[in-house]
Amino acid sequence: MKLIVKKHPLAIRWFHWVNFPILAIMIWSGLLIYWANDIYRVGWGDTTILKFFPDSFYKAFNISGRLAEGMALHFVFMWFFAINGLLYVLYTVISGEWRYLWPERKSFKEAWLVVLHDLHLRKTTPPQVKYNAAQRIAYSAIIIMGFGSLVTGLSIYKPVQFGWLCTLCGGYEWARIEHFTLTIGYTLFFVIHIVQVVLAGWNNFQAMVTGFEVEKLPELEPEPSEETTNTQNS
């Protein structure tokens, strides 16, 4: 016998997996747009550490000369991205799931302990419900980033009609930089997310599909009575 421990509600799994292809298309079409004016780099003065992006990158993914296609895709799928994101936020608020997601006061301190544990510099982790402190911060931050993408995106898309929003972002050019930086943020999130999921193992991953984790029952005592069957889980 196994114990089935419910983890992710159907709605959350749905939002998660629907968001995946949408965000992929938004990043992809964003690259097609960015190519037309690829001026960003990391560096100072004449020193460049990192250029977004080297020509080999464009060549490898056949990105060059597809600005119109990129814009056409971006301005359709932006709606799906926004609607899916807003529904997710509404769901977490109404269902109370936000309690597992939103960082608590202690989360910011605990997140360091989680990071130290994951880097094998510490043996134990703080006790957690569903998500640990680092996850709470990461999963809340990604939602705020999504909101930031909508705001900066709208500022670039309609800088006159939403001029106040554009000003709020620091002007047209800053809005574009912020929009780009957030996208780099998603890709970094994605890399860490994948590594963490791989390290956490199959049971954790399949829960995002099935909704539950499977646990072994504790070994029963030789003479079990119903009261002593403890089905504690974490």
Binding site: M1, K2, L3, I4, V5, K6, K7, W17, P21, I33, Y34, A36, N37, I39, L67, A68, E69, M71, A72, L73, F75, V76, V129, K130, Y157, K158, P159, V160, Q161, G163, T167, Y172, E173, R176, Q206, V209, T210, G211, F212, V214, L217, T231, Q232, N233, S234
Partner: protein, 251 residues
């Protein structure tokens, strides 16, 4: 989590539930793949797949509804204007053109074309604007332009009634470059027929003798070297809209 009911299940039951869930998951992946394949097999609608063209139009319905021609584009002090103004297109700017003999062909009606000289245009009150010129490629430049406000132009030549049309079409003299613009955007008070840049006569490669400056649109709409202007209730042909871009391309 402690508050939620957990179920005991046999290994077989667990396996069944996991398999069923993953079948659903793979169906979902398959549907996403098919949807994308479908999109990229839809017919071409002027340079983009038809559903994406539809997307442009729906967006215009949504955001066009928020367009208010009295909302002004942010302007800058003269000192903010760059002296190195970017030149980004030469379609319709062929060599066989003499600005001295130039006249604008304004089609009031079929067979009724008004010819307007540069002297007549320069005699009208001058309007100047310093604004952030935005290219659809993503760059922008604060630039300084001077010319006649489009609404002043219409009023002076007694063309106000033509503002009832839905669109205006503009063409270069050789008709190689052409744009269509919705009337609301044309009537925005910062739209000018421009003959000066940085306080000097418009350079040849910036569209001398007369070009359009329409700050609520991307640069692709700011047609250089205006040859013909006409009015229409159907969307006029538009060079970049035929090549996959949004017809409206406005802010």
């Amino acid at each position: 989590m402690e508050s939620k009911p957990n179920n005991l299940a046999t290994d077989r039951q667990v396996r069944r539930r996991v398999i069923f869930s993953f079948i659903g998951f793979f169906i979902f992946i398959g549907l996403v793949y098919l949807a994308f394949r479908w999109l990229y097999h839809t017919p071409d609608a002027a340079g983009v797949h038809a559903p994406l063209r539809k997307g442009y139009e729906v967006n215009e319905k949504i955001f066009g509804g928020t367009f208010n021609k009295n909302t002004l584009v942010k302007t800058y002090p003269l000192s903010a204007a760059t002296t190195h103004v970017r030149v980004n297109g030469d379609v319709g700017m062929g060599e066989d053109f003499d600005p001295k003999t130039w006249k604008m062909h304004l089609v009031r009606n079929v067979g009724d074309t008004l010819l307007i000289s540069m002297a007549e245009i320069k005699a009208l009150p001058k309007t100047e604007i310093v604004f952030d010129f935005k290219c659809i490629e993503g760059w922008s430049q604060v630039t300084h332009w001077g010319g006649v406000k489009f609404t002043d132009f219409l009023a002076h030549f007694g063309l106000d009634s033509l503002a009832a049309y839905k669109y205006i079409g503009l063409q270069t003299p050789d008709k190689a470059y052409y744009v269509g613009i919705d009337m609301n955007s044309m009537l925005q008070p910062q739209t000018i027929l421009c003959y000066e840049m940085n306080g000097k006569p418009l350079p040849y490669d910036q569209g001398a003798p007369l070009r359009l400056i329409i700050p609520v649109k991307y640069g692709i709409k700011h047609l250089k070297r205006i040859g013909t202007m006409f009015f229409s209730n159907t969307q006029p042909a538009d060079y970049w809209a035929e090549r996959g871009y949004d017809f409206y391309s406005g802010h």
